[in-house]
């Protein structure tokens, strides 16, 4: 595969996971990259040095992972557990359990809590300082209308997207009630939700090649700004093929964002100006996850079959780290701080 895709796709990391990549994230402090995979591992790479720093084995496929700080991280596993890893020592704690596979995990620096979403239709908050006994680590469990599919954090805001196209917006300081209960403005299953870095709203993608840009501000003026656009589609010989949009990643500096779809493309968008800024060359298979590094200079792209067509032979899973040119992510007509 490296031969097929030379530098245009970015540098491919060596020792990629042996099965589907569920998520990857850059650290907020370094160019370390945490990758969770269906091969039951969480891997820690140094993206700039292209070195595998660590590998942590789980009882089941890992659906999500995130950094705590540069020395430790969390993972969400199909075996219902939420785990904490200390990278240097390889020490592992089970932070707690859900009643069903845990599909997403986030760490809030603002609240100092780990938030996990599970298919058991609950959201749980954990205190990572708590000892391995799950009762002590658990801060609270909050029922959701449906199985949680994707969550995203910005400041004290937490957006939870579930099956059935529900979207709940929470304030981490008051988790008893959702601050807003919404319905996805897209008509199809939600794939991914990500908050704007400036904290004014969130982007939500669906399985049907669409991304909605929504705003927290409930006033009429605020809601007037929301819109959705089609992407990751292919029209060929009169047949439209629509691909799921699996991943959204916001650029930490410019507030533009990249989307990745099952068509293998990564597009960069300027949400403010409603413009596509860039499209990278096609990757060998679906884009499972995307992450910008802390300074926005690197973009990690997980090219990994996301099982959208069931079990079938597919390209090997790979992680590409590409250096980002400013032109590719900088809003064009006027410089805007963020969407």
């Amino acid at each position: 595969m490296t031969g097929v895709l030379p530098n245009s796709a970015g540098r491919e990391l060596s020792n990629p996971p042996s099965d589907g990549i569920s998520n990857l994230r850059f650290s907020n402090h370094s160019d370390n990259l945490l990758v969770s995979s269906w091969d039951r591992t969480v891997r820690l790479y140094d993206a700039s040095a292209n070195v595998l720093r660590g590998e942590f084995f789980h009882g089941g496929p890992v659906l999500d992972c995130c950094f705590h700080d540069d020395s430790s991280g969390f993972s969400a596993c199909v075996d219902n557990t939420v785990r904490r890893y200390v990278f240097s020592s390889g020490k592992e704690d089970i932070l707690g359990r859900h009643d069903a596979p845990v599909c997403c995990v986030e760490y809030s620096y603002a609240a100092g809590q780990v938030i996990t979403g599970s298919w058991d239709k609950t959201l749980k908050c954990w205190d990572p300082r708590g000892a391995s006994g799950q009762e002590r680590a658990l801060v609270g469990a909050y029922p959701q209308p449906e199985r949680v599919y994707s969550i995203s954090l910005v400041g004290h805001r937490l957006v939870v997207a579930t099956a059935g196209r529900h979207v709940n917006v929470y304030d981490l300081r008051n988790m008893s009630q959702p601050e807003q209960k919404r319905e996805s403005s897209l008509k199809h299953q939600t794939r991914c939700v990500r908050c704007y870095p400036n904290g004014t709203g969130f982007a939500l993608s669906s399985v049907e090649g669409r991304v909605a840009m929504e705003f927290f501000d409930l006033s009429e003026a605020g809601q007037a700004k929301k819109y959705a656009f089609k992407c990751h589609r292919k029209s060929e010989a009169g047949r439209d093929t629509v691909y799921p949009v699996n991943a959204i990643a916001f650029h930490p500096v410019y507030g533009t964002f990249a989307t990745g779809g099952c068509d293998g493309y990564v597009n960069v968008w300027d949400g403010n100006n409603k413009k596509r800024l860039y499209q990278y060359t096609k990757y060998p298979t679906s884009i499972a996850a995307l992450s910008f590094s802390r300074d926005g200079r690197l973009l990690a792209v997980a090219s990994s079959y996301t099982f959208e067509e069931g079990d079938r032979p597919h390209e090997p899973d790979a992680i590409f780290v590409r250096s980002i040119n400013e032109v590719e992510v900088k809003p064009k007509p006027r410089v805007c701080p963020a969407p």
Binding site: H188, E208, R239
Partner: protein, 753 residues
Amino acid sequence: MIWDEVGESEAERDKMLLELERECLEVYRRKVDQANRCRAQLRQAIADNEAELATICSAMGERPVHIRQSDQNSGRLKEELAAIIPQLEEMRKRKCDRRNQFLEVLEQIQRISNEICKSTDYNSSKIVVDETDLSMRKFEELHRQLHALQKEKSDRLKQVLDHLSTLNSLCLVLGMDFKQTINEVHPSLNDSEGTKNISDDTIERMDSAIQKLLEVKIKRMRRLQDLATTMLELWNLMDTPIGEQQIFQNVTCKIAASEQEITEPNILSEEFINYVEEEVSKLEDLKASKMKELVLKKRSEMEEICRRTHMVAEIDNGMEYAIEAIESGAVDPACILEQIELQIAKVKEEAFSRKEILEKVEKWLAACEEESWLEEYNRDENRYNAGRGAHLTLKRAEKARAVVNKLPAMIDALGTKVRTWERERGIEFLYDGVRLLSMLEEYNILRQEKEQERKRQRDQKKLQGQLIAEQEALFGSKPSPSKPQSGKKGPRMSIGGANGRRLSLGGAMLQTPKPDLPHPAKLTPHLRPSKKGGLLSHHQDDSCVALSAGRRGLDIAGLPVKKHSFNAANSHEIESPMTRKPFSPLSAAMLPKVNPNFLEDLNKVQGGTMQKTLPNSNTPLATPSKLACVTDEDNRTPKEKMPIPMPTTPSTISVSMQTATTPAPAIATVLFGANKIEDNRTPKEKMPIPVPTTPSTISVPMQTATTPAPAIATVLFGADKIEEMHEEVEYSFEERRAGFVIPKTHVISVVQV
């Protein structure tokens, strides 16, 4: 006294006295004469002086003022003389000065004229000053002459310099030695500091030198341009790489330049021209070696032209031979190339003459294509169903019909054109080797056949209609004549339609229509045998309406009982004339009242249009508010009608029929239940399927027996369960991959990978 003494005689005395007297007189006379002479001399001197003065004055062009004065006071000659002498001196001095000036000017004049024309003797060689005319006028005249000469000299100098620079540039361009060239003209010209020879002769020689060089230049330029042209041709012929061409860019770009434009140093030098010549000859050599390729290239060019104009190239065998000949060196390739070029020209000419007809042929062929498309389209039963792009096809059909109507006229016109052409040239018009006229005839025959076929079909249809009418009279029911056809067509269309379907890899929702559709299609044929009885339409309609209702996604709607009665009600209604509204738009299905029509649509619309509408009908599913209103309506209608149909619904019969005759759908549901997880489809869309196939409770045992999935069974038991099912059916890719199944009331299966 002395005489007394001496005693001289008186005579003597007298004589002596007389002598004395005479002598005295003589002296006196002499003195007077002397005085007279002196005066005359004086006068002469004065006159002389005056005359000289006058001469000088006149020579100098000045008026002698003093002459009159001397005339007046003639008394004092000496004074006069004294006065006149200084004047004369003065004048003489002035004259001398003047003469010197003259001399000087004249000398200059002579020098310049000497310079100007060495050979021609101007009035010079030695200076002669005309003493008589030293007037200012003359002097000025001389000055003018001098000035003129000076001017001429500077002009000539300039001219010489001009010539020199021209010569220089020429020499530069021609690559000749400038110094040597001008030395040949005149050695002094070479001297950059010293004076240059500017004589007529030199200038003339320079002129001729320039002329000579110009001629050389033009000659060389022609040669170079010829070379460049050849070179370009050769390049063109042999696809010489740009890099190689770049070297001679300066040559080729001057190919059309005039003499003045060529200024680049050395571009016309002997060596450079030789260099270019060498390159050209190199290319020529190359060309000779590549001649074979060239011949082939030319040939393919010709073939291309032939292909474009649908002519048959008749050169092949000759060409093969020619190539062999070239290989063996027996024939001059250039000669063959020429031949081919000639042929190409000929072919081009012919192509031109064929152009008009060919255009017509194109049009005709396009029309034929359109005709065949139209035929295909007319055969398509679903053509009027609204769907994506349907308006476009309609438009196309309209256009196609217009074109088809014009076809006969087109053929006629084409035929006459071809005939004229053939007459004019005395050869047959071949289109890809086939005579166009025969093609046209063939087409005409085909057309007639088609016409007959169509007529036959019409007759048959009429006959069929009669037959049905008779049947109707016999049985009292009115099955639509198109029904059997639609039943037959259904499956085929749905399969065909699946291809044109909007394909969504991940969008499981969009994909579901495919598996759905065959079921109703299969259903109908299965039911058809039962039609023999009077109840036939009941069954069919019954199940189909149920299907349609279910398909509309009445997820929350309807207890099965209710639904069933509702269906029954509708099926009852079907007996009314409402039965046939074949082409009602699909969207009407959203209104429960129009349900019966939906049956038709279902049967017919299984192609591409279906998948479009399905997602639409799914939409209300997702938005509960809308859904509520739909279900409301649905529920209301049956309620109103419930009392009527209940007794008359032949539910038991139909059910037994179904269990007996429709094993296929049942299996389908079972399969579906089993595959539910690994399949991409979300059950949401599938739910409708079991509903119609099991319209009554009687079939339940069978299904429960064969269906292991408890979820399916629950469908049949209550609306609540259905509702739940609908909520749970959505799975993300990850859930599907993990094999995650929603833990339901009893079964919890978390499959671990």
